[in-house]
């Protein structure tokens, strides 16, 4: 294996542990917002999409790049906005609590 691949594998393994542990105490009531929030985070694929789109130089890559950027941007923007809408409600409740 190349060193790069080994490092990537290490990042992967450590991130698995972090991913598991960090949400392990989530209360039921936050399942839906958390799902929505993680959904927004995988919108990071937008980084990959613009890396592809930026260098597009053939009809195929142009189509692929354009579609990929649209889809990924929708994922990011929609994901964070809809999560925020959900959580706004919780904030309302917190305020009501005080």
């Amino acid at each position: 294996m190349t060193n790069e691949l080994l490092n990537e594998l290490t990042f992967f393994v450590l991130a698995i542990f972090v991913g598991f542990e960090v949400i392990s105490k989530v209360p039921t009531i936050l399942h839906t917002p958390l799902m929505s929030g993680t959904n927004a985070i995988h919108g990071i694929i937008l980084v990959g999409a613009i890396l592809i789109a930026a260098g597009a130089n053939s009809p195929v890559t142009i189509v692929l790049g354009l579609v990929a950027v649209i889809l990924a941007t929708t994922n990011v923007v929609g994901g964070f906005v809809v999560t925020d809408r959900m959580l706004e409600m919780f904030k309302g409740r917190q305020a009501a609590k005080k």
Partner: protein, 462 residues
């Protein structure tokens, strides 16, 4: 420069982790979303120096960003609270699609014999991303009622699906080993799309949240795989975080429903059929009591303690505001009102909390199952609004019932039970509810919102 990019990516990863951490505690959840969004902005910003735009590339990137932002914002802003599950499905699906497309585009760059270290993660990303895309779209269609929410089954279905999956694996191995046909991954993609559809079709609409969560985790892994192909740290870490936390979340969600994940994904057929049969055979012979809004208004107005049990029907009828109004008029008369929230009431965990919060129900009135279950016996009225399975005593009393053993709200222990729904039809689990025939139970038929509004007037008049 590379150092700065790497440090920015690391910062972005740290922000994603902190965001997730905050998202999983009620206090910090909203900040958590902002934290994660900040991480996203930093990761995107750090990517800019890596880009070498062609003319067409610059245009499509800009156009794509604008279009995507529009769709995302409008979609997320317009959607009604009850339609959030399908919106999440949609946003998840497009992410999976993007991951698959990125992997395809990257593979096309390497002529006929791409190195294995590139092909393997790409193929993974294409397959999983496509399954996630297609599966999410079916989930969306089911939840949006563009298609029937009941499981679509036919004889030998599981065998067909298995064959499909086997074909994909075989094909993928061929691509990995031979990799001589450049467009073979397109075929792989098409097959994976079909598998995605076939996988979700036999799962009932009510189980969609768990399916979406699973597909969400899959998309995360597909993104991580794309990261291996592109040698991009941000994709690897963020994708893996979502993959891992999403898997755990999927498990937590099916746990909260009192079912195993396997049962959710593959057990739909048998269970639902049995349920339907049970309903066909039993019931309907016996009679139930029902009452007028006026009678019930009086009963409520002169109670000391009322516990409202909201369920899926309240969500469908958008009756959360009407429920709040009823609680308000009751409280003005000195009646103590609480809401008993079953963890799986509605169609996704936390559904009721979100809806009632939308209607500004004070936090202290929302009681979790464990907190409230002992209070029912001291309650004068349990007011069940569009809930059914979550108060079905069969879970306690009838071994063999599909919901036997599931923890339920002890609404049947209240002095009076008002059961509001439109008909005698069963709830999600498709099984009858003895509580409707209970000696203290009064049915109040009709759409939840209408019925609640009637009760508000009746209480005011009482």
């Amino acid at each position: 420069m590379n150092t700065i990019i790497a440090l920015a990516y690391l910062l972005a990863a740290a922000l994603f982790i902190l965001g997730l951490k905050q998202l999983s505690s009620p206090k910090g959840a909203r900040n958590g979303n902002f934290t994660a969004a900040a991480g996203m902005v930093i990761a995107l910003g750090a990517t800019v120096p890596l880009l070498h735009f062609t003319k067409a590339g610059l245009e499509i990137t800009a156009v794509g960003l604008v279009i995507g932002t529009l769709i995302g914002t409008v979609g997320a802003r317009m959607v009604r609270m009850t339609a959030i599950p399908q919106m999440v499905a949609l946003f998840n699906g497009v992410g999976g699609g993007a991951a698959a497309l990125v992997a395809v585009a990257e593979l096309l760059k390497f002529g006929v014999h791409p190195p294995l270290a590139e092909v393997f993660p790409s193929v993974f990303s294409i397959v999983i991303g496509s399954v996630s895309f297609a599966g999410s779209m079916v989930a969306f269609a089911k939840l949006q009622e563009l298609m029937t929410g009941t499981p679509i089954t036919y004889p030998g279905q599981q065998i067909v699906n298995l064959l499909l999956a086997a074909t994909i694996v075989g094909f993928a191995v061929a691509v990995l080993a031979v990799a001589s046909i450049p467009f073979s991954f397109i075929a792989l993609m098409v097959l994976a799309l079909v598998l995605g559809v076939a996988f979700v079709l036999p799962i009932g609409g009510a189980d969609m949240p768990v399916v979406i969560s699973l597909l969400n985790a899959c998309t995360g892994l597909a993104v991580a795989a794309s990261g291996f192909t592109l040698n991009n740290f941000a994709l690897i870490v963020a994708g893996t975080l979502v993959g891992a936390s999403g898997s755990l979340l999927t498990k937590l969600m099916s746990d909260a429903m009192g079912r195993s994940l396997g049962n959710v994904l593959f057990g739909a057929f048998g269970q639902v059929r049995a349920g339907v049969t049970a309903v066909g055979s039993g019931g309907q012979a016996r009679s139930v009591r029902s009452a007028s809004a006026e009678d019930l208004g009086t009963l409520l107005a002169y109670s000391q303690r009322v516990i409202i049990v909201p369920g899926y029907g309240l969500a469908v009828a958008q009756a959360q505001h009407a429920a709040r109004e009823l609680a308000d008029v009751l409280e003005k008369r000195g009646v103590e009102v609480e809401y008993a929230i079953h963890p799986v009431a509605g169609r996704m965990p936390g559904h009721m909390n979100v809806l009632l919060a939308e209607a500004n129900v004070p936090y202290e009135q929302l009681k979790e199952m464990d907190q409230v279950n002992d209070d029912f016996k001291n309650a004068d009225v349990a007011l069940i609004v569009g809930a059914n399975d979550v108060v079905n005593p069969a879970a306690r009393t009838t071994p063999g019932s599909p919901i036997y053993g599931m923890p339920i709200l002890n609404a049947d222990q209240a002095k009076n039970v008002i059961f509001m729904k439109r008909s005698m039809r069963p709830g999600f689990a498709g099984i009858e509810n003895e509580l409707m025939y209970g000696p203290n139970t009064v049915m109040f038929f009709g759409d939840a919102k209408d019925s609640l509004t009637k009760l508000v007037s009746a209480v005011k008049a009482a």
